[in-house]
Symmetry: C2
Subunit: 365 residues, 2 copies
Amino acid sequence: MARNRTLPLERGATIGIMGGGQLGRMLAMAAARLGFRTHIYAPAGDNPAFAVAHAHTEAGFDDEAALKAFAGSCDVITYEWENVPVKACDLIDGICPVRPKPDVLRVSQDRVAEKTYISGLRIPVPDFHPVASLGELGEAVSHIGRPAVLKTRRFGYDGKGQARIKDGTDLAAAFAEIGEQPAILEAFVPFEREVSVIAARDATGTIACFDIAENVHENGILRSSTIPAKLKPRTATQGRHIAATLLDALDYVGVIGVEMFLSVKGGEESLMVNEIAPRVHNSGHWTEAACHVPQFEQHIRAITGWPLGDTRRHSDCVMENLLGDEIEATRGLTGIPGAVVHDYGKSEVRAGRKMGHVTRLKLRK
Amino acid sequence: MARNRTLPLERGATIGIMGGGQLGRMLAMAAARLGFRTHIYAPAGDNPAFAVAHAHTEAGFDDEAALKAFAGSCDVITYEWENVPVKACDLIDGICPVRPKPDVLRVSQDRVAEKTYISGLRIPVPDFHPVASLGELGEAVSHIGRPAVLKTRRFGYDGKGQARIKDGTDLAAAFAEIGEQPAILEAFVPFEREVSVIAARDATGTIACFDIAENVHENGILRSSTIPAKLKPRTATQGRHIAATLLDALDYVGVIGVEMFLSVKGGEESLMVNEIAPRVHNSGHWTEAACHVPQFEQHIRAITGWPLGDTRRHSDCVMENLLGDEIEATRGLTGIPGAVVHDYGKSEVRAGRKMGHVTRLKLRK
């Protein structure tokens, strides 16, 4: 079947999504509301996105035949998981456009490449040093000082693959803790707060940012996002400017999550980028409850060439993740006025697993 | 598999939906957001609900084996179409609870039974008279007077199966126009405005009403709903009271749409019930854009025994239906700040067919 993949896509076009988790699920529902079809591609597992999509392919990211068939069935393809192999994206991109483009993954999947790229744009990042061996770790510590954080270059998320290096920490033990993998040593930032900017850019270069969220992590996992973040207006402008600079430099199309550290020194606030997530982001889930166009629809609009939506929020709010068996609380939470509950429909409840979230809106009188 | 169908249902329970149109589709997505599974049952056709449901059965409402298998796979069953045969519902109800209960359909599917029931609750309805033959039509006209509206007792929707009887209208022609079917003659109400109350009742008798919508119909099809309706506070209270009286009398569980005529005489407003729709209702689609808990989620909450949601709206708004090829306008509409677009994903565009809707929110500064 001949496909017309020029932007803007028409209603009824098929959006491919790589990854079958909750982000894919929420993207699929947003796409359906705009009249698009969806096709989810994900390896075998508990893939909650399958249940709300028009079609799905259960296959590995190394299955070239399956990838090609998938690409042939779609009009645009995106990903909900930042660790989709670049090789798979490159293969697909030759058949059907992948947005954001695979080059973005080349930057974001390697912490050293990411930090080098971002600092090259004169955007502040923590001091960092690559670490390939125990010897290099010693060298890195002498450059960066203590305390510092040792992180694997690849596949880190939700605090996994990280070790703190404090005064007295044995370097060999720390390197063993992260599996002696290629790593990065980052200076520990004595931040006041963590914030994030969820922003979108379309193919014509238009950029729209949601209001900045203030995030609390526990054991490396996001617990809550509060909107608006407590920031001086100037700092908020700086945050949006950082996101826009990144989006333009990456020639990015879609929604991005930019996590930042806020430091306060002598009453002066400053921001530093911690990491970028080239996809819809957990700290943007509140937009589903408090904005007219949620981040999921915004992403679909961006990659299909539809107009970006108004990002104003109608309410202040707090989004809390429901981890593991906290999901059993949803029924009770629905009884609270202004609580908007979202259960990802995952079958298996595991400790620490992201099962759902609740956004508590501050209702106006 | 043994099923625990006592209320409240647990997350992961399966909700059966009879009918596969846009209402079923929006119910299925609302159910998914709360972590429920869905199983859609609908006869062959363009069933946009199938694409966002966990399972579907394509079979006729007279296929007893399919109905029984469907009922066996669900924990509660509801309908998105008011003309589902009562016989099918009764059969299913013996296996899996149907909510709202089939008795409600016995009332709502026959305009004479409906008007008789409602007026029996001392709720004002237009004068009416049953018509079984041309002879009875003459008799009815002499009771009711002209102008009047002749409607088939069954299967009327979106203005179908209706004939106006004015001065000079030939009765035989009017009776022929509606196919000489069993009918009802209703006095024409010189209403000022049409309004509707979308209300929910749960199994414990709790009732929650959304704000009253002011509706404009064209050729019997809803064009737009404006919220709030222009009503005196006392009239709005009367409207909510009428809905609550109906819900209690019917021992109703779920969301109902109650369409009313507003008349103004000597500055005094009064309401009269035109008809009831025992399901989520087109004039409640705005709740998806302007309320924290849309009517679709409210219905799912009611039938699963979950708490009813807060019905406050965060914005005034106007919902407009997109009929036929008006659906091609959605992309342009997404460019308007505060416009929330919904495309039902129907493949076939037919003149007058409900293809989607847009809710225009009045944004606060």
